[in-house]
Amino acid sequence: MAILAKVAFFFYTLIILAGAWWAVTAQSLVRALVGLIATLFAVAGMYLLLAAPLVAFMQLLIYVGAVSVLILLAIMLARAPAGGEEQDPRQPRQYVNALLVLCAPAFALSWVIIKHPPVSRLTPSELPAEALGKALMGPYSLAFELISVALLVAMAGAVLLAFEKRGKK
């Protein structure tokens, strides 16, 4: 099984990278979304490899089933014209900026992982959903609550943007 797991790991990594590349370089918004969905799917596969099926299926349920659909709805509502700015040739400065954006989180994350390596094990074991829930409600409750604050801010921001647009008309 170890070889199969490695094959699956490389397969998922390939899809994640290819999907991300496709999403960034695609000439139409919906195609970019297809790339994003492929990436999200492969990330769910990674969670499965870590023996975390609940997280994997939640990833599918929330990100693929709900968030992507809402993005698609937004694209359809906005009726993005086919010849938008995403089809213009890109400036070299944009490539440099993109590279910086890519490197910043990569450096930060790898620094954290090297400084504080998490305890690793050869074969991951599945955690029951109950333990997961207890962890979220117990030691990680602050982080859990902060996420809802982030969602609230996003929602308030969306309402604010919508109101400003309406005032201009």
Partner: protein
Amino acid sequence: MNAIPIELIHIVIAIALVAGFVGLNGLVLVWVERKVAGHVQRRPGPYEVGPNGLLQPLADAAKLVGKQLFTPDGSDKLVFWLAPIVSFLPVMPMFLPMPFSPFLTAMEVNVGLVLILAFAGLNILALCLAGWGSNNKYGLLGAGRAVAQGVAYEIPLLLSVLAVCFMTGSLSLTEIVAAQGNWPWQWNWIYQPIAFILYFTCGVAETNRAPFDLPEAESELVAGFHTEYSGMGFGLFFLAEYAEMIVVCGVATALFLGGWKGPGAAGAWWFLLKLYVLLVIMIWFRWTYPRTRFDQLLNLCWKWLLPLSILNLLVTALVIKL
């Protein structure tokens, strides 16, 4: 080199069986649907091909496979042909944790319910891609409706399922069935009647069946999201819809109707019997009720089903705690 792991063989066999089951049921359900429709409207339904029209679905299938595949002008070819595939592929994993009987479950997943719900959400995505990719205003309108409807009805569906999970304390369909008794009054539909009705209503809406078939309302939108699809492009959407009906009714059977359990000998036959009764009820709905208007559909969900399901969940949690 060591031998092929047994689980891999197990999954390959299971997927082959599921593919057979889905295909066969597609044929059977088309026949049942047309027969029920016929008798509801006081006509015999298909009658000519085979005894009582039994071979009609095969003829339909041969027709669908034989047709030319058109791609409309100005459509996004990749998105257009990706959509039917995205619609049909998730059907396979959804059958894996389905507990036909304690021995006839393709894969024991202890979060099986979440697996089914996760892959069921992909259908809306497929409808959207189809509607957008067709470069057709009817397709686009159908897709827009599919999103609004699918996103709205998914919430009460999840909440009603959650109420049953609270009672059993498990997300595994096998365990939920095992927690129910042999007799009909020991099944969850007695303890959770509101959740059962909510689940079934939302299930009908999630599979885009009449009276909630707004995304493909033929009197307004020609055929909605699949207007531009010919041959097997349409065939895959069609097969996916029937497979999703089976999944919705199968989950209802496992959650609320005691799954494989029943008076006398428990086994897969009880599961299949309940499954087909629910499927016939779903088909019966389609030919009895007129299509709802779109604002009625959304009002029903946001103003009635959603508060009711939240209330049901709170009461369930309270009763469990007492």
